[in-house]
Amino acid sequence: MATGTVKTGPQDLPPSGGYGPVQFERIKLRQILSAKSTLLTYAACTGLGFFVMFYEYRQIRRERVEQLSGRFAIQALLQAERDRQFLKQVRRNRDAEADLMKDYPGWQVGKLFDEARFIGDDPDKFIEPNISEYFAHARCVGGFLHLFNYSLNV
């Protein structure tokens, strides 16, 4: 079926005088740093880096201690204020619950269907309310902003 045409004419031959030489040898890249100087540079950079880091870290540590010292000095003041605010809110929560559930017959404030919060709960012992209890009567946005007040609990 394939009725190919038969090639005629002169055969392809190398150029006159032959092909040029072929490069077989590997050509190396131009060397900038030798192995020895690379290692030496690495060691020098690392050593200097560590020295600067430790030297600076002493200063950073010193400043951190000073900062911490200042914060410890006002810790009592902040905590005292926070305690008062916290107790006020606990009392407000209790009043709000009593007001909210006053129409429910037989409701006991601070208990869930006559079950105390903890077994053997001692009224003389103060157990800090957890976060959902503390914000039970708060609006979402207002309560969220007061998270800071709660988080100062140290």
Binding site: E63, E66, A73, A76, D83, R84, R94, G110
Partner: protein, 171 residues
């Protein structure tokens, strides 16, 4: 939730005059304040750590706030300009109220405090050191050892294995 049995202080008992100052001002006066009110601060923090009850440390807390108020009133009366200068520097020079960037204003403030209130700046890291606090507070009673009536009796000697038992790593 607090029941009606829990004794909670009333609103009036909890309302005292607070120190209405921002963080930069508190941080600026912190070191001298801590030295000025050292006794009250230690009493209050000792009470808190001993009793772990905010209701029982209200008086100590009020003493702390009163002492701090007195300190800041004195500063306002005697070293207001230097204090404001220092606090402004602390407020505006860094994001974390760093002391290290305000040495010049600090030295001016320190000098004023030493001259006017006779209150030297405490040594470096003074409030991070461990100190002994001399107090008249009664020692808290140790927590009673709980007694459980249904504890099983100890195993008699005869039941125990005679030659020990298999070790943990022996199988």
């Amino acid at each position: 939730m607090a029941t009606l049995d829990h004794v909670l202080p009333t609103e009036e008992e909890l309302t005292v005059e607070e120190v209405n100052l921002g963080t930069s001002l508190l941080m600026a006066g912190a070191n001298h304040l801590g030295k000025y009110c050292e006794y009250q601060n230690n009493e209050y923090l000792l009470c808190k750590s001993e009793l772990k009850d905010p209701r029982k440390c209200l008086n100590e807390g009020k003493a702390v706030t009163a002492c701090s108020l007195e300190f800041f009133r004195n500063v306002k009366k005697l070293c207001l300009q230097e204090f404001n200068q220092y606090a402004t520097c602390i407020d505006k020079s860094s994001s974390s109220y760093d002391y290290s960037v305000c040495r010049r204003t600090q030295s001016v403030f320190d000098k004023c405090m030493l001259d006017e209130m006779n209150l030297p700046r405490p040594s470096f890291g003074y409030f991070t050191e461990v100190k002994v606090h001399n107090t008249k507070r009664p020692k808290p009673e140790p927590e009673p050892i709980p007694h459980y009536p249904d504890t099983p009796a100890p195993v008699p000697e005869a039941v125990k294995p005679k030659y020990g038992h298999r070790g943990i790593f022996q199988s």
